[in-house]
């Protein structure tokens, strides 16, 4: 047990990777994640005060990061989303490569990130914080200031939304389609 409260720099360094990955998960772009990390750290420093337990610092930092990312998402022009672009005729094409297991794994990750990026901001935050970053339900409840029961039910819905998006790539992700005839029609 340390005999003095940690400095801001010590804590920020400790949580740097977690926060960066949370921002990357929510925003989907490394450059945006770097900007969000900077803004998160600035906001955190400005509000840094006093001593809290270790667990409280983690949720406190994450709360700031989530709010920062939500602010950035809301600033983004709607046309930047993949759905909006596709509505305007953009076809991302089929870039799947299944030559080797490694490439397929990389492709799966890419598609997962893309699918997460197509979720609305609330679903996205839940999936990133719980399923990607591994925050506990208790921590999530503190970060999002929602009861655990609400978190669980919303997370369940978010996962269903994610599966629905991923079902378009059923060969890779193996979910049963919600509507098989739609999938046949796309081909």
């Amino acid at each position: 047990m340390s005999l003095h409260p940690p400095s801001f720099e010590e804590l920020a360094q400790k949580f740097e990777r977690e926060l960066y990955l949370t921002c990357y998960g929510v925003l989907g772009h490394r450059e945006d994640a770097a900007d969000a990390l900077q803004e998160t750290m600035l906001r955190a420093w400005r509000g840094f005060k006093g001593f809290r337990g270790e667990a409280q610092w983690r949720t406190w930092f994450h709360r700031i990061a989530v709010n920062t990312c939500i602010d950035m998402l809301r600033k983004r022009r709607p046309a930047a989303s993949l759905d909006a672009m596709q509505e305007e005729g953009f076809d991302p094409g089929d870039t799947r490569v299944s030559v080797s297991g490694e490439l397929e794994e990389a492709e799966r990750k890419r598609l997962l990130r893309e699918a997460i990026g197509r979720l609305d901001e609330k679903d996205r935050v839940l999936i990133v914080l719980r399923d990607v970053r591994g925050l506990s339900y208790e921590e999530l409840a503190k970060v999002l200031r929602l009861p655990e029961g609400t978190i669980k039910s919303r997370l369940s819905r978010a996962r269903e939304h994610l599966k629905k998006i991923l079902s378009a790539d059923a060969e890779l992700f193996g979910f049963r389609d919600v509507n098989k005839s739609e999938r046949r029609a796309k081909r």
Binding site: F8, E9, A12, E16, R17, Y20, L21, Y24, G25, R30, A33, A34, L37, Q38, T40, M41, L42, R43, W45, R46, G47, F48, K49, G50, F51, R52, G53, Q56, R63, N67, D71, R74, K75, R108, K109, L112, R113, I127, D131, V132, R133, G134, S136, R145, P147, R159, L162, K163, L166, F173, G174, F175, R176
Partner: protein
């Protein structure tokens, strides 16, 4: 293994080899759990780019330096320092001119700008006075002495002590807390909930208010409330109860906090009533709050320990 067990094991730091195998066997037959496994492994190989790390550290350093500079200038501009600065400025002027106090009486004040060219001899064209010879002062010294006899307000720009400062500072000290909050509102807080007549020390906490409302765009920055309270946990819980949120930990008594609140249309009236009871000033109207498309308003509540509650 059930899916619930699988998710519980996923949260374990380092499951043993056998557990990992069981989890893999389950994931091979369950698409849902395989997805959870893949999501958890998504960031495995990701690192923080060096530039991202450098970027935030530089930004925090700059912010620290700005805060420190502001704190120092606040000290120098404080009520206590103004008379000291004024006395120091006068002393410097007197020492520089080396004019005995007795000789100052009866001289006419001549603002520097009204001295005509004919009255000023080019430097070096007149015999140096004994004092000038001793001190090395240029021949223009007599003109400066005339100015020096004037009241401090006649000094040239940039050299006058700020006689306005003591009055401004006195005004600030005499202001009740709400008015002081109104001054701060210009730099950041949207509203202030506070105990009155409190001695308040500017801290990094307040600089958070400066930055919290940088952007005016509704919905981009949450509406910021600042609450100075002797019992910050109690203050926060009053508002949280009003919006049906669970209470916060009592250890916030020690340090204060920044809370993010989400208020819905259903509970905004109760929330505003709680703010009004607490003495929020100015009390925001429902239409002032940044509502999103789902009828939720996000607010930042900054609670600082201090002051005297009503």
């Amino acid at each position: 293994m059930t899916c619930t067990e699988f998710e519980r094991l996923l949260d374990q730091r380092e499951p043993d080899g056998q557990t990992k195998q069981e989890m893999q066997r389950h994931a091979d037959t369950c698409g849902h759990c395989r997805l959870l496994l893949e999501l958890r492994a998504l960031d495995q190989d990701e690192k923080v780019p060096e530039t991202a790390s450098t970027q935030w550290k530089a930004a925090v350093r700059t912010e620290k330096a700005k805060t420190e500079a502001k704190r120092r200038s606040g000290f120098w501009n404080s009520r206590a320092m103004a008379p000291v600065l004024a006395a120091a400025a006068i002393l410097v002027a007197v020492i520089a001119l080396r004019q005995p106090i007795a000789d100052l009486g009866g001289r006419q004040t001549v603002p520097l700008s009204t001295v005509s060219n004919e009255e000023v001899r080019p430097a070096g064209t007149e015999a140096p006075t004994p004092e000038a010879a001793r001190t090395g002062m240029p021949a223009a010294a007599p003109k400066l002495m005339a100015v020096a006899t004037a009241s401090p307000l006649d000094f040239g720009p940039g050299s006058a002590p700020r006689e306005e400062a003591p009055e401004e500072a006195a005004e600030a000290d005499e202001m009740p807390m709400f008015a002081l909050g109104a001054m701060r509102n210009e730099s950041g807080a949207d509203a202030l909930i506070s105990g009155a007549d409190a001695e308040y020390e500017e801290t990094a906490f307040m600089s958070a208010c400066d930055s919290a409302a940088v952007e005016d765009e509704i919905g981009t920055q949450p509406f910021t409330l600042v609450w100075v309270s002797e019992t910050p946990a109690e203050a926060a819980n009053t508002l949280l109860q009003a919006i049906g949120q669970p209470e916060i930990d009592v250890d916030m008594e020690e340090s204060g906090a920044c809370l993010s609140l989400a208020v819905s249309r259903e509970n905004v009236s109760a929330f505003l009533k709680a703010l009004e009871t607490a003495g929020c000033d100015p009390l925001p109207a429902e239409t002032d709050l940044p509502w999103d498309e789902e009828g939720v308003c996000r607010l930042e509540l900054m609670i600082e320990k201090g002051g005297t509650d009503r």
